[in-house]
Subunit: 146 residues, 2 copies
């Protein structure tokens, strides 16, 4: 079971590396593209962290590297002087759209191993497991507080 875990990483990483980015960087770029499509002018680091299920320091690091690559820019938020809004640069948008197409194709290629019924079952099972794990995490949090 855990084998799937490692294999997925080892399949994805070289793919994104071919485009010059890492899996985490891809995740962030995609989140920013979506936010843009939803009409947001930018996302705060906290928002990014929530969407990517990642803690603030990790977000900072990825943003810093993407900024250095010129794929992303940050501007101070007008509302809250603590916050910074992250958004795609033209270069970043171009890259994420290009990689996105290849990625969709790659995902299709992998999931071609399953028929529709299996795919539906997998999706349902994973979502149930996610749900269960969230419950357990919550229980443990409460225990710790007690």
């Amino acid at each position: 079971m855990l084998r799937y875990f490692g294999l997925l990483r080892r399949t994805m990483e070289p793919f994104f590396a071919g485009h010059g980015i890492s899996v985490s960087q891809w995740g962030m770029l995609r989140a920013l593209l979506r936010a843009d499509h939803d009409g947001h002018t930018g996302l705060r680091l906290m928002d990014l962290g929530e969407r990517l299920l990642v803690r603030p320091p990790s977000v900072s690091g990825v943003v810093r590297r993407l900024t250095a690559m010129g794929l992303v820019k940050t501007v101070p938020s007008g509302d809250d002087h603590r916050a910074r809004l992250v958004s795609l640069t033209a270069k970043g948008r171009q890259l994420v759209e290009r990689v996105g197409e290849a990625h969709v194709q790659r995902v299709r290629e992998i999931y071609a191993a399953l028929d529709e019924h299996e795919l539906a079952g997998l999706s349902s099972s994973l979502s149930k497991l996610c749900h269960r794990m969230e419950e357990i995490s919550r229980e443990n949090c409460e225990k710790e507080q007690a």
Copy 2:
């Protein structure tokens, strides 16, 4: 889909942290316990790497930390003067057996979210996907060589 990925980590890590070890360390201890049951006197770092799907430098690091914790010991291999054989100390064996019981229970707790049929489907689907990903990795390797 990828959500499952992160959630699994975030559920497992605190669990093992409660026993003072990390997920990788657990993986290595378990591999060593299994090897012991199979009658091996110890595993070379390369063997461990293959079983855990991890590259040599990462193995070295985990072994170093486990050694520092007194859970594992290494002796030079008689056959090959380059190699080192890793095995559990008494303390390590005791810990892995204790954690193992709790771990089995925890896994059961999570997979209780699925019925038998779903579980079988999940297992089959994941193994098909693993197979597919291995194929793709192999194809890419061959492409690179060309």
